[in-house]
Symmetry: C2
Subunit: 349 residues, 2 copies
């Protein structure tokens, strides 16, 4: 007595729902997509049938028929190094906004331009969101050549005609130096990112570097900069280098999350007290991270989630073919956590 329909117990289709609700297949589709008006009575019957049959649309069928995947691929090339909490904030914000707008946000670890282009060409995503942008980025070239919709969190040296959201590293470094200068510090150090990532130059580090040089020259401060790998060990060495270059150092700016742990460790090891002997000010950190240090670091906090959401908004504009919105520069606000004070031997005026 077994029939071919015996495995129908698996999944209800839209056709099953239509039958159950006594309407046509297309009506069920329109109830779900909202693409045309449906009477409330019909809607109710369809939704009841959907609930009764525990139906959900098949993603592949929707994609094939509509020619849209409703997927945004977030490419995070440094996945093998883990994801820092600050970077995660951007991802979290992008993910939330994408979901709000009816998109899935999926993370891929690809590093090669070809792999990234392939995601869209093979119909696995409608568009790409790039992170960890370098000044000259081959991924950007490939995506532009292939006319694939994409946006950047960060920006290349030439970002004309591309959608991007970036943190204003230059302005933030200027504010940070001015803040320390106002407190009376005249001998500063900057612990920056490594000067190269994957052989290209990382935009954030380069822009911070330039702004730092300008502002300290303008204020007539004695300043040194160290380009530092993303690790506590490198951070310890960086602080040692800064102190041997300038023994009168009274304040350190860190814009390297992992290295900052080492900076603090080295200060502790030398018996230097924060902020009594040396002030430490973190630049472009997420609040969660700044609180992790011991002591917690005063910081120009980045609103990563908001920036991530803004990046999705820009990307959706591009996807809709409404043109490329202007780039967005986000600012960071100083949050005091007690690691910054006037320099020790300050002569009061």
């Amino acid at each position: 007595m077994e029939t071919q329909t015996s495995h129908r117990t698996q999944h209800a289709t839209m056709q099953d729902v239509a039958r159950e609700a006594g309407v046509s297949l297309s009506t069920v589709s329109y109830v779900l997509s909202g693409q045309r008006p449906v009477s409330q009575a019909t809607k109710d019957r369809v939704h009841a049938a959907i609930a009764r049959l525990d139906f959900r649309r098949n993603a592949a069928a929707v994609t094939l028929a509509s020619r849209r995947t409703q997927v945004i691929a977030l490419v995070y090339p440094l996945l093998h190094l883990g994801i820092s909490r600050t970077a995660t904030e951007f991802v979290r914000g992008a993910h939330a906004r994408a979901n709000e707008m009816g998109y899935d946000l999926v993370v891929w670890p690809h590093t090669e331009p070809d792999q990234i282009v392939e995601l869209v060409r093979a119909g696995k995503a409608d568009a790409i969101l790039l992170m960890e942008i370098e000044l000259t980025d081959p991924r950007v070239v490939a995506l532009r050549d292939q006319q694939i919709p994409f946006a950047m969190i960060g920006r290349t040296a030439d970002s004309d005609g591309i959608a991007w959201v970036d943190v204003d590293f230059a302005a933030t470094v200027v504010h940070a130096v001015e803040h320390l200068s106002r407190l009376g510090h005249t001998h500063l150090g900057l612990v920056n990112h490594a000067s190269s990532t994957h052989g290209h130059r990382y935009g954030a580090g380069v822009r911070a570097s330039g702004a730092f040089a300008d502002i300290v020259a303008q204020l007539g401060l004695s300043c040194h900069e160290v380009f530092c790998d993303e690790s506590p060990v490198a951070g310890r060495q960086a602080l040692s280098d800064l102190l041997s270059t300038d023994p009168d150092l009274t304040a350190v700016l860190t814009m390297n999350e992992d290295a900052a742990f080492g900076v603090l460790a080295e200060l502790h090891a030398r018996g230097l007290v924060i902020p009594g002997d040396v002030s430490v000010l973190s630049v472009v950190t997420s609040p969660g991270v700044a609180s992790l240090y011991s002591p917690p670091l005063s910081s120009f906090d980045v609103q990563g989630a908001e920036a991530g959401a803004a990046a999705i908004d820009s990307l959706l504009t591009v996807i809709r073919g409404e043109g490329v919105p202007p780039g967005v520069l986000t600012c960071c606000d100083l949050v005091e956590r007690g690691s910054v004070a006037p320099p020790p031997h300050r002569t009061h005026p």
Copy 2:
């Protein structure tokens, strides 16, 4: 003179390839899938046509027709906290093996059982790989109820009939304690994970805790354990607590990657030398992480990539309907990095 075919420049279809190669559509499909033998001459012509037209299969169409997505969803519920390098090793290994086997490995941040079940029910993935398993895990219950193919990296208290790969935390802690004991240490501390995550109990921490209690009792050692949040600040406090509980402490076992930074910071702050005054031995860390500490920590290193690959292998067995393979316990090997030595005031026999 414009025709409807003018937008054909977009993407070549399999039908286009078939025409170009002078074969049927099904032959092109079989060349690509390898599901039935095709003569070398035909293969060559098809591949040439594919190259000429720059063709790639549409993922949605393949999925719809074959009823397989060839996607494995890796659910990493703690994405909002970032991903540690050790966890990343597992992901990397799983990703590489999945690709080898013709699957995409896609990372989702879902925490709710319903969201996870939905991924498979909506046809976005064929199977689920779970990480950060708790002793009693509602996600596992939901997946089992819905008969969805899945595997765990880690394991629940009752893991009968489920595919899993886990690190042998109990054995590793035992080896670590025995190693320290052999060197002459009699007063140990263990900095464990927080005793609860999301309200449930984290398997790794609980199993390590039990093994620790057993082995120190058996060896007659004086030992204390601290359950510690995943942060350097918590780690500093943890070490303080251990030292005030037992001022004679000469060795610390850490199995909390973030807290270990704080443990080292607190030791430095107190002027205690590693390993001269206190030995520090890390348990179940990836080599990359152990080298990040200052000083680098001797560690029982986990082969995360291998474990991730093994988890994919188990999951594929389940997907193929070949039954549930037995669980796999992986061991960790001690790698000396100089942070462990005999205790300071040891009386030589």
